[in-house]
């Protein structure tokens, strides 16, 4: 590791411009360039979309539990003509938009952008991001995406409906289906803006992490959170341009009659034949070349955060820091060469499928290493079961389930059977809702005192955890059985098949659990906003944690640190029996002058 230089950009050096109070407010809170404000902007926007995406999911679950029953009250408002039934094309809109909102507007930005922005400078001891203005732009680039995808609900055909994967020709032939009209074009525009925003962010993170670490903060002293963000940023920087380009190509297919993804004479729904000459599979390759790494974009930062939280509340060092870092890197590396496992049944050459299968199976190894290391961290600790800790353990528990079912999917012949069934739905919901969301909640509960200077209510936090944990498992575990029964995804009404007719009771159970999960989030909302006003005020380090952000004021002011942080050791020196306290902040020199940070490794 090269020695780290510190770039000091004191606040005084910034040009002082006379501004009206409105101007000041505008520049401080709206077009803010402070990474913390931007992080919070991302946090609030994504939480809002989280709610929207959740409500879309509820509508999906309603249809699956009570198919073609009139949705009470909302139904007649939306679908008066049919008495309140969800129409089948609206169902496709629901599944598409639920996925789009959750992936592009919630999980990716909340992990990479909200936490990334907030935590990276604080945890590496920098005053701000490397490029504060670019940072601001990356947030405001999300707004065109919000507006485009939001607007797509209002233009015919009322929401894109070609699936979040937007497979052509369904998505590229305007006439092929409701949902691939104007709304689909807007949807593609939205995805493009998300891509641009994320790329801006990732460039910023990479530069910041490489260039702006505090003195003494070597790469191998970085907390796992930062490693997660760092690798995520690499993934984003290299994979996202592919998706953005692919989206532009699909856009030109739709708008200007190019034929990247359309075969010769492609028609649907009696549309005019397209001159075509392209290949629908090309999109799938390009799309998954981004979207498979995106799966890791959606989980690696959470893995990092959970590693930090587990170590903090186990009051002992993280088990195997170096293997953990290595496995994150291996996951990311392999993540680039396994996209084809989404396409085993797509008509891609089966021989190619085998090579993808081999790489995919191997990705289970670093994942397993991580799980074992987390268990190793718990082993022999003095576990403080605070809310963030419970969420972190919940993360591990659910990630195990999601990861193990992934092995079934990695195996080509088995995947042929369960591809596009509820097995897949169960799998990625365990990873995304189970694991990633658990990680998000863990992160919010953990860093809330740093963000707002007050604690969230522990009691209600634990109630929230218990309900969420129970009902998320209740929602997604039975889906494995639906998948074993081969119930296909994206079916508005599977029950008219004899094969799936018996699945209604289980689906009702799932739906009730899903509604309960959604209802339990009310506790979180109340706790979150209630604590803003009534939470217990805390000092700098309420959790007795080691990492740098806890030595800054809560909440940190502009410039983050009121002293120059110098790092003396790694982030996980908990429970050292030779020390007085069971934690040793990274900024505090040890009494004996020995740096134990890399004692093992």
């Amino acid at each position: 590791m090269s020695s780290t230089t510190v770039t000091n950009w004191p606040a005084e050096n910034e040009p002082v411009v006379e501004r009206s109070s409105f101007g000041t407010w505008l520049m401080t809170y709206v077009f803010a360039r402070d990474h913390k404000i931007i992080g919070l902007q991302f946090l609030f926007s994504t939480l809002l979309w989280f709610f929207v995406g959740g409500m879309l999911a509820m509508a999906i679950r309603w249809q699956l539990a009570w198919p073609w029953q009139n949705m009470p009250i909302v139904g007649p408002m939306l679908f008066s003509g049919e008495g309140g039934q969800i129409s089948p094309e609206f169902y496709t809109t629901l599944v598409t938009q639920h996925a789009t909102v959750m992936i592009f507007f919630v999980i990716i930005p909340i992990l990479a952008a909200a936490f990334g922005n907030y935590l990276i400078p604080l945890m590496i001891g920098a005053e701000d991001m490397a490029f504060p203005t670019l940072n601001m732009c990356s947030y405001w680039m999300m707004w065109p995406a919000f507006l485009l995808i939001g607007t797509s609900f209002f233009v015919p055909p009322y929401g894109a409906g070609a699936g979040w994967t937007s497979y052509p020709p369904l998505a590229a032939l305007t006439e092929s289906s409701p949902g691939s009209g104007m709304a689909q074009t807007l949807w593609l525009g939205g995805v493009m803006f998300v891509g641009i925003a994320s790329m801006m962010g990732s460039v910023n993170y990479l530069t910041t992490i490489i260039q702006m670490r505090a003195p003494g903060m070597t790469m191998m002293r970085l907390p796992m959170t930062i490693w997660g963000m760092f690798v995520t940023a690499i993934l984003q920087a290299f994979a996202l341009p592919v998706l953005t380009a692919a989206a532009i190509m699909q856009m030109t297919d739709r708008l200007f009659g190019t034929g990247f993804y359309l075969p010769e004479m492609a028609t649907a729904n009696n549309s005019a034949a397209v001159s075509g000459g392209g290949q629908p599979l090309l999109w799938q390759h390009l799309f998954w070349f981004y979207s498979h790494p995106a799966v890791y974009i959606m989980i690696l930062p959470a893995m990092g955060m959970v590693s930090d939280i587990l170590a903090t509340f186990s009051r002992k060092p993280l088990f195997g820091y170096r293997p953990m870092v290595l496995s994150i890197c291996v996951i990311a590396g392999l993540g680039f060469v396994v996209w084809g496992h989404h396409m085993y049944t797509s008509g891609m050459s089966p021989v190619l499928g085998i090579t993808f299968a081999a790489a995919t199976v191997m990705i289970a190894v670093p994942s397993a290493v991580k799980v074992f290391n987390w268990l190793g961290t718990l082993w022999g600790g003095r576990l403080q079961l605070t809310t963030p800790m419970l969420y972190a353990i919940g993360f591990v528990s659910m990630f195990i389930i999601g990861g193990l079912s992934g092995i079934l999917m990695a195996s080509t012949p088995v995947d042929v059977v369960i591809h596009d069934t509820y097995y897949i739905v169960a799998h990625f919901h365990y990873v995304l809702v189970g694991a990633a969301t658990m990680g998000i909640f863990a992160g919010i509960y953990y860093w809330y005192p740093k963000m707002f200077g007050r604690m969230m209510n522990e009691f209600w936090g634990k109630v929230h955890f218990a309900l969420t944990f129970i009902f998320i498992n209740g929602t997604f575990f039975p889906m494995h059985l639906l998948g074993a029964g081969n119930m296909p995804r994206r079916y508005a009404d599977p029950y008219h098949f004899e094969l799936f007719a018996d699945m209604l009771p289980l689906n009702r159970f799932i739906t009730i659990c899903a509604f309960a999960t959604m209802a339990a989030q009310l506790i979180f909302v109340l706790n979150f906003f209630g604590s803003l006003a009534f939470g217990r005020r805390v000092g700098r380090n309420p959790w007795n944690a080691n990492t740098l952000e806890w030595s800054a004021p809560s909440p940190p002011g502009h410039g983050n640190f009121d002293f120059q942080p110098i790092v003396y050791r790694g982030p996980y020196e908990y429970g050292d029996p030779t020390c007085e306290r069971d934690f040793q902040p990274q900024t505090e020199p040890s009494l004996d002058g020995k740096d134990r940070g890399l004692a093992h490794a």
């Binding site: 929207v52 309603w62 009470p72 009250i73 909302v74 003509g81 008495g83 609900f153």
Partner: protein, 439 residues
Amino acid sequence: MNRLRNHSSGPLVITTLIAVAVSFLSGCEVPIASFSSNLVFAKRLEIDSGMKMEPAVNETQSILAEMFGTPDQPTWPKLLSEDQELAGLVSQQRLTRAAGAVRSDQQDNHFGLFREHCVHCHSVVGNGVGPTSSFLNPYPRDFRMGIFKFKTTPKGKKPTREDVMRLLTEGIMGTSMPSFRLLKQDDLEALTDYAIYLAIRGEVERRLMMEAASELDLDKGERLLDPALKESAPDDYQDQLRLIEETVTKVAQSWTGAASSVTKVEAPPADYPLFGRDTAGSKEAQDRLGASIANGRSIFHGKIANCASCHGNTAMGDGQTNDYDDWTKDWTILAKVDPRDKEHIQPFLDVGALKPRNILPRNLRSGIYRGGSQPVDLYHRIVQGIDGTPMPAVGLKPDNPQGLSTEEVWDLVNYLLSLPYEHITQQSSQVPPYQRENP
């Protein structure tokens, strides 16, 4: 279609939560109170007659509700069920099965079939303007004119029950109408009844509205069935009532009469060559088939059948492509509105009409035959024409000395069946290159 209210708006979110709560407590039923009125037709009559049609629309609505019930509780009009001949047309029991909300009983009998399978395209009232309809090409059928395209009876006649049933079981290739052949026979019967019921109801509605527009001065308060007359002039009231009943009976009779008007198909002699079957047969059969196809080709391009004028010399449907079907003409041409005239069609679109589209002659080389691909189906299309479209019926000898003989029709059928296998540039009578590279 009030879908514009987005999920993200606050009130909606709250109502959703309440709705979810309420749904657990109640059985979650939202009845549909009534069938919607034929406002597009009313608009046309309004333009035509210069009168405000609203009173007639409302009155028709209540007369129909009295006779035909509601979407949740449809009734087969009493006067029809009392008529021996007409009672069998539609059974009340099947109507009940097909109507209402989707549900099923302990014995796994499904109810609400129409709303499960059909409303998304054809809508509750069967006007072909369901939520999905505007995205489909061609548009779903509007039953209310009582016109159906693919059937065994001539233009102007109703389809037989079997014809409707066949459309349900086979679907309509080349359109968005899927096949429902995997439903239970009972369910299909119920849906057939319900479709006929909607068609009759819709046609009665049109006739009553037409009657009101052309015989009554609505502005002066005249009514189709004036309850005030019941006391003051019972005879007049009875006359009015009789007129309405006659209308209903007449429409229903047109359906029962369909079976007797089925076009008789003259089968050719048994040794007649047939494309596909005899393509790889004996040399003699092949020669006869070649001659038959060649003759069919000359008929196709000839003046008697005049096929090429619309289907084009290439048979790809690129001839006359500017026409409209009867469902569109009903509210455009007949209301003196040019379907291309955006400004004038807008009032119709506002009340629910779908944007007019040209009716295109079929591309006969695609191998897709909407009315069925059996030779007998093509025979029907040729000698009957296609109802509701500009496709005319070719005359048959000997009734029409200038028409075609049945053998010539079969020749034409052979030619049509061979078209998908013929090279587009090949207009000569050589045997088309059947052998294609097989995967």
